[in-house]
Chain length 155, copies 4
């Protein structure tokens, strides 16, 4: 979206370590075999290798697994721009599934569209890589909330 | 929604076995430790026990895991009303997360709002059970598609 | 949704007048010929009479007009439970359009699903009345925000 | 979204006239004072001048009016790629409202993300123009359906 202004600079110089440490605490990401591929200010990428552990009934990657990495990619994109000590929670997201998710790797690229004081809009595009090409399989838009001063909810 | 007309009768008398068999093929459900609690015409319930394997960074059940069981509950609700041989795919869903998902058990109750020939709208309410009480933690609305005559996409 | 706890009592005893006065300021509602049918704590109904002024290209009521009354019904449902002086703004909504909106009257019934301090989830069901019967034509789910202390944003 | 492949070429060489003629039948667009700004294959822009006829209670452009032009922009983007004789209907959309819609002009830029045989995903970004600058105020994602052979539903 070339018309969108660039995201504001990160509020926390330690954004990369912060996302990495938080990601390591997401038990679900380990369970799904997902990994953090890139962490930039306002943009985070998470990837998943399809396998029997994440399928739906036809053998494709389950919409829930696609949603999980897309939601995490969007949420961590938002977190990179939040003040130190704040935590991120997903308020809502919508995902459109455009094609069956299958191939060598499923990659969710999250980015901040608009960062506000309380709410941030982030989107993620999800691609399936197969035979060296990639295909858009899903798009997600999410409202993320900055949580401050709530015990147990940091990063 | 008392104003909604009741869902039409199931097209397939074997709807219960059909859902059970299809659910068993969803590798993700086994990975998440989710189980099928109830299968009725136009209504399916799926439950999950919170644990380290499904958490996000603050220790709550990850929005992706909540979405996974809510999407499956909604999708199988739709499948109960589809003609024999047809398959169900999720076109899109939106989920609002109302409270952290934590407790003894997370239960997603799906139901068909309107079943059409090609598209079905299904919703799911997700509850967290703790200390004998339950609390609404998420609501999902999804568009499901009836797929006919595509190889590999049945049930 | 019989499992949903009842909405909390209204914070403002003057909720009915408050909604009525605010509704009268919505120029769009007058433009669309929409009217306020019912205002209860956590539940507001808005109706519209189909006509040439609100159509899309096939002669049905435009999805934008359906959305407008559904969004207002959901937003005012939320407002009935907000503290005096607070204003309501829509953060996001999703609408599924189930059948062409046509008939004698289009009625959007909004209700609060969960009222929080900052964010409220509200839903609206939209019905088309024709020949004495009504048919569900759309369902909307919306995140509403309580705005306090911002000049010009009350009610 | 630089990763998205370009939309397929339009199926109907008369796409521009088709959209223009259909738009002229949308009574709601005339009622809102909206106009068609650009029609390209897979991309349509619609604009609105804010005024008392389209406000919500705080004087901003109503979310319903923003949604109406965004939905039409998305839907007509999809229509440019549909076969002659087919009609377009909105299945669902979600809109995130990022900032109050106010200014000299509100512009909704729709584009096709993926065109399928039955369903098309289209998005629209909505900008508010004021003092020569523009600001992103809303983003919409919509599922559009190609309708063939249904009387009264063409274009």
């Amino acid at each position: 979206m070339t018309d969108t202004p660039p995201p504001r600079p990160p509020a926390d110089p330690a954004f990369r370590e912060r996302v990495t440490t938080s990601f390591a605490k997401q038990g679900l990401m380990e369970t799904l075999g997902a990994s953090l591929s890139a962490v930039e200010p306002g943009a985070v990428t998470i990837a998943l290798v399809p396998g029997a552990a994440v399928t739906q009934q036809h053998g494709f990657v389950h919409a829930g697994a696609v949603s999980a990495i897309a939601d995490s990619a969007a949420g961590y994109s938002a977190l990179t721009l939040m003040p130190p000590g704040a935590g991120v929670l997903t308020v809502e997201f919508k995902i459109n599934l455009l094609a069956p998710a299958a191939g060598d790797r499923i990659v969710a690229r999250g980015r901040v569209v608009k960062a506000g004081r309380t709410l941030t809009l982030a989107q993620a595009d999800v691609f399936a890589e197969a035979n060296g090409a990639e295909r858009l399989v899903a798009v997600l838009s999410a409202t993320m909330m900055t949580i401050e001063g709530r015990e147990g909810v940091a990063d």
